[in-house]
Amino acid sequence: MSIMEYNGGSVIAMVGKDCVAIASDLRLGNQALGISSNFQKIFPVTDRIYLGLPGLATDVTTLRELFRYRVNMYTIKEERDIEPETFAHLVSSTLYERRFGPFFIEPVMAGMSKTPSGGYKPFIAATDLIGCLNFAKDFVVAGTASSKLYGVAEGLWEPDLEPEDLFETISQTMLNAVDRDAYSGWGVIVHVMTKDKVITRTLKGRMD
């Protein structure tokens, strides 16, 4: 029995052509007993950053509150929104602060970052529970179904997917991975972000 698998839950983020997507399941459990089928693990940080927090549920809430506080302080001091790259380092250093008594969370981030020419470029990143950053160019996964997510994503993902195709890819990856994991599932939520909008959809999955 690992503390990382106590409540269950998984998150995945993927890069597309001028878009990113992030998805999570909605289960909250106590080991094998399901408690809630509407437990959000993905939170908006700014208009252009989403943060997924799979892991121990008490730390999901605590870290969500901590990041809200730290991002608010940054926004007030800098008088501008935090950039995704900067936010990734904020996540990393916040987790490393607790190096020897960590939060049991493996964060996944997705966002659109500003380029010098004034455009936007997709950004995803993930860290382990002590804040070791992983900037991937394709997709990142975390949570109890991560091993299954890797397998399905490896098979379905391809470069330069349009937003609608990226939505289909991430949704199928999530639904199929989660059905093979007893601790994840009970519904899925997907956010697809382009330079000017975010589309959020809730998927019906197997409720067993």
Partner: protein
């Protein structure tokens, strides 16, 4: 063993907790009230390690009361729940954490909606249509999946609760005998007899 249930319905939350106070295999008391009134529209059912439960419940009760005295208005259920959760989450990473599980039922008088929060000793919190703690939860949750109706009247809600209690009495080896049942709605808090 200790068991507590909570059900929301049309404009109300019902909380039920067993009334036994046990130590090892001995029943020390059979009329213990394990549901505290935190404010005029907020109830908290607590269970867990004896000693911790009462100490923590009284700490919460008095701090919620202090907020009310200082500000002349009570915390709304979501705010109260967030603060209580934080107290448990902070306690978890202290030298001696509180081992207390909670069900928080409240009625928000500003939005006219009932709220139910499930909180465990780790500081895990989630809002639910119905919830349970203890061994009874293994029987009651599946039953509530079948019979819970968010639009049910108070009479129907109490009938569903009775079903839960009957099921636990029938199937659980160490089932509690008596329950205390409290309701919170727009008129405030009252105890009901099943």
């Amino acid at each position: 063993m200790e068991t507590s249930f909570a059900i929301t319905g049309k404009g109300y939350v019902i909380l039920a907790a067993d009334t036994t106070s046990a130590r090892s295999i001995v029943k020390m008391k059979s009329d213990e009230d394990k549901i505290k009134t935190l404010s005029p529209h907020l109830l908290m059912a607590y269970s867990g390690e004896p000693g911790d439960t009462i100490q923590f419940a009284e700490y919460i009760e008095r701090n919620i009361r202090l907020y009310q005295i200082r500000n002349n208005y009570p915390l709304r259920p979501p705010a109260a729940a967030s603060w209580i959760r934080r107290s448990l989450a902070d306690s978890l990473r202290s030298r001696k954490p509180y081992a207390v599980n909670l069900l928080l039922g409240g009625y928000d008088t500003t939005t006219y909606t009932p709220h139910l929060y499930w909180v465990d000793y780790l500081g895990t919190m989630t809002e639910l249509p119905f919830g349970a703690h203890g061994y009874g939860s293994y029987f009651a949750l599946s039953l509530l999946d079948r019979y819970h109706d968010p639009e049910a009247t108070l009479e129907e809600g109490l009938a569903t609760l009775r079903r839960c209690i009957d099921e636990v009495s029938k199937r659980l080896v160490v089932s509690p005998g008596k329950y205390k049942v409290k309701v919170v709605d727009k008129d405030g808090i009252r105890e009901v007899e099943l």
